[in-house]
Symmetry: C4
Subunit: 284 residues, 4 copies
């Protein structure tokens, strides 16, 4: 009886392991993990909607938010307990010290922070301010990172672009500063003494809005000389400020293409190995 | 007499077939279909002008709109009847059941909806609200799609860009969300408690306007911390948000070039085949 | 005496010919033509300054404008007469009928319109309205075109981009129209019934300002649904609307590179031919 | 005693030389120079903060600014004296005339202007206006240029892009002018006679804001004809105005890549030479 129970437990534990630990599968994502990703995405959608005063004022929406939040806390709490439980199947996290090592990983701490503050608030009543709770919900982003290799690509692309990214970024920042100082002297100190250009930090805000071509229109030169300068800076500078973005985009695209190629190559080799193994088996 | 009449009818039907069915020609577009394309484009121009209050108030323009609409309904009605009539020449639409199959195709339903609601409204008087009629006119876009292979290229480009498009899109959306949450906390919750940043969905509107560099200027940060964050996000993020557009543009351009190459290759082979067949004929 | 005078006249005519007719030189631009280019550019600068009310109100500037305009009219009048005079040295414009053929060329008519209306106004007093005179001054742009091969590259780039440019342009326009119709229904007809979206042509103005990322901020959606739509359209559409510009830019750049290559190749061949010819001469 | 002192002095001078003169090292930057770069960057940060009225009004910040400025002046004064002192170790600056030649270099004059005006103001009291002092601080940018090879790349990229950059720039400027003149006639002269379009220079400001897609929203057409023109110009012109930036960006990126390649190649050759020399040494 006991042995059978242990076997069932072992079987369950193994099933949970393959369902929850991404490294347990070669490709793709398990149904449980896919559900967790969907819950995290939904929780971000609800976090956004919750902050909207026109929705929060309606009782129906408020009830929906409350129900959803309780459900999410419950799901993430269960998920956390099970993850700690099955982590023992991985050799590096076996034993009590291994379990402790598992629980102090970034991912595990994020898993905990993703539900614990909210759970305490639910159990104790409104002891924690709402804003703090909402900030803690952002830790759910790290839960996602586990399943999304793209975040990894981001870092690799930055490393790949390396010194080119640094040089172009330094140049862009230098141009922003020089443009801001020029317009500060022309518009803020001389001429119309515009309030929006009356310090270099304010002029930097203008320079960034202009050189990224966002151009909100909250700050713009009004003197003829300021406009002439701004025109020359805009025509010449947009290319320079767009350089780091271009360098990064091209590094990112290269990185992505290489990884896809490597993945396809692995897959082809795998299929060839299987095809090579199969005839031998049939010969045997 | 009767046989002669049938022959004439058959001849007319065949002429109509080659004029109306795009698949009946190897290349280019028949004069009748070109006229239909022009009528559709004109109907979109008139739809736009009709909605302009300053024009709709003038009797001369109103009369022009009415005349044009009646003419378009008449043309599309005749076109629909003739299309159904000649569809029988295509083997897959022969017979009554074939005709029914033809009439339930997307293109045929769009052909019907492109004139029927307006025709009913004209015959019965103003029974259908004007807005509904105008919405139905948008089905004329599908009439165009029949002749424009570019819509097809659009889909092929999306498929070609595939996982790269998905990854970059996910990254762009994640960045938009993170930027919005950051500015919501800085501008909406803390600091100046700006009304435009007082919920995450509103902050998302700002993030999209900024990271696409549209920058309407209806929403922008005003606190020093908010501006510092927005500056960093703008400088770093514009490249990331532009990535999916860049990936798509390059896939679209590649797809278009390949198709043009394939078309030119086909044409060359055709000419060579004709050149090869001709001498043999002259030898015979 | 008479013969000598004719010879001098012939020599002068020939000198004027090589100075004025661009085709008379293999490379570069003659000093006289360079001066004409500078005068044309200056006349555009003065045209711009003249229209500025704050400058036109000052007597000193007004005097400078008047003096400059008289000088320019005199220079262009002399240039025109001399050009007609020396055109006879080109075989295709020899004789009276050739001279007439020369005077009816686009360039010659532009040369005439670049000074004649202004000269008549100066001689007769202010018979011609100032605005008309200023419009006529724009014909001086065509005088420039004679010396600038880049305008020629522009046309060649458009032809080179050909069907790709057409397809992407059609797609961009279709997207602009669809985006405008969608926002017209959401913002203009439904919801807040914004005045700026109350007709499709007005919505098209919004769509173009948004999809080109100019974003003046004079028109923008205010309803949640309108903003959601606009966000999706902006994220997806900016890539599509930027396609024709990208296609053109790449065609232009290719065209420019090819021409520079061809020019360098010609130069190399020339030098080689000279180097090849020189030893033979020294051998002889 | 005296000889020993001279030797110590010579040793110190040599150490200072290797620490201060960038050419004394093959790669990287010395700790002293790195500190100077950081001080220059900090001085730009403080220059920006100092101009902000909300900070300058607070005594604590004012004290920080004053202390920092005195420290910077002291550091740069010491640096200048030491640089002049050790420059004698470079053969071209040896002797009194060499020292004079060193002190009249652009870098040395910038070094002097980076602290002298401020030092005089500190010693004499507020004899020099604050604005002038702040302008002089910008000379510190030239101090940076000594250590940043990227400024050099900028010039090389412009030379590399050469005639392509010139042609595209001319085309962009021509388009800006033509667009401005068109909108001046449509919006400023005819139609609504908008004040913002009432001269060509003002219309040029609109054209640049539009064609660079900055779009502040301080100027935009309001008449239907003006909007139609502006739409066509925006759709067609953005590609043209972005051309010079694109040409420059690609030249810059090529230049940067080539230099990195050359640097890596040098490094490889160096390592190979060392590896080749080492065995010989061990053989000997």
């Amino acid at each position: 009886m006991v042995i059978h129970q242990i076997a069932v437990q072992q079987g369950l534990r193994h099933t949970l392991y393959t369902e929850l630990v991404p490294e347990a599968r070669e490709r793709g994502i398990s149904k449980t993990n896919l559900m967790i990703v969907v819950v995290v995405l939904l929780s971000f959608l609800f976090l956004a909607l919750e902050t909207e005063p026109t929705l929060a004022a309606q009782p129906a929406w408020q009830a929906a938010f409350d129900t959803f939040n309780v459900a999410v806390v419950a799901i993430f709490a269960v998920e956390y307990v099970v993850r700690v439980y099955v982590s023992g199947l991985q050799p590096e996290f076996a034993g009590l010290s291994g379990r402790l090592r598992y629980m102090t990983r970034v991912y595990s701490i994020a898993d905990l922070l993703a539900f614990l503050p909210e759970m305490i608030a639910l159990l104790l009543g409104a002891g924690i301010p709402l804003i703090a709770l909402r900030v803690f919900r952002l830790f759910r982003l790290i839960k996602l990172a586990r399943f999304v290799p793209a975040f990894d690509v981001l870092g690799a692309a930055v490393r790949r672009a390396g010194s080119q990214l640094l040089t172009t970024l330094a140049m862009a920042l230098a141009l922003v500063y020089v443009a801001a100082v020029a317009l500060y002297f022309i518009e803020g100190v001389g001429g119309q003494q515009q309030e929006m250009f009356q310090s270099i930090p304010r002029a930097i805000w203008w320079a960034i809005a202009t050189l990224t071509t966002v151009g909100y229109g909250d700050v713009y030169p009004v003197t003829p000389l300021g406009r002439a300068f701004a025109s020359v800076i805009a025509l010449a500078g947009i290319g320079v400020v767009a350089l780091p973005a271009g360098v990064f985009a091209s590094a990112f695209s290269d990185e992505l293409r290489e990884r896809e190629l490597a993945r396809l190559k692995d897959r082809v080799e795998e299929i060839e190995a299987e095809a090579g193994a199969a005839p031998e088996e049939s010969q045997a």
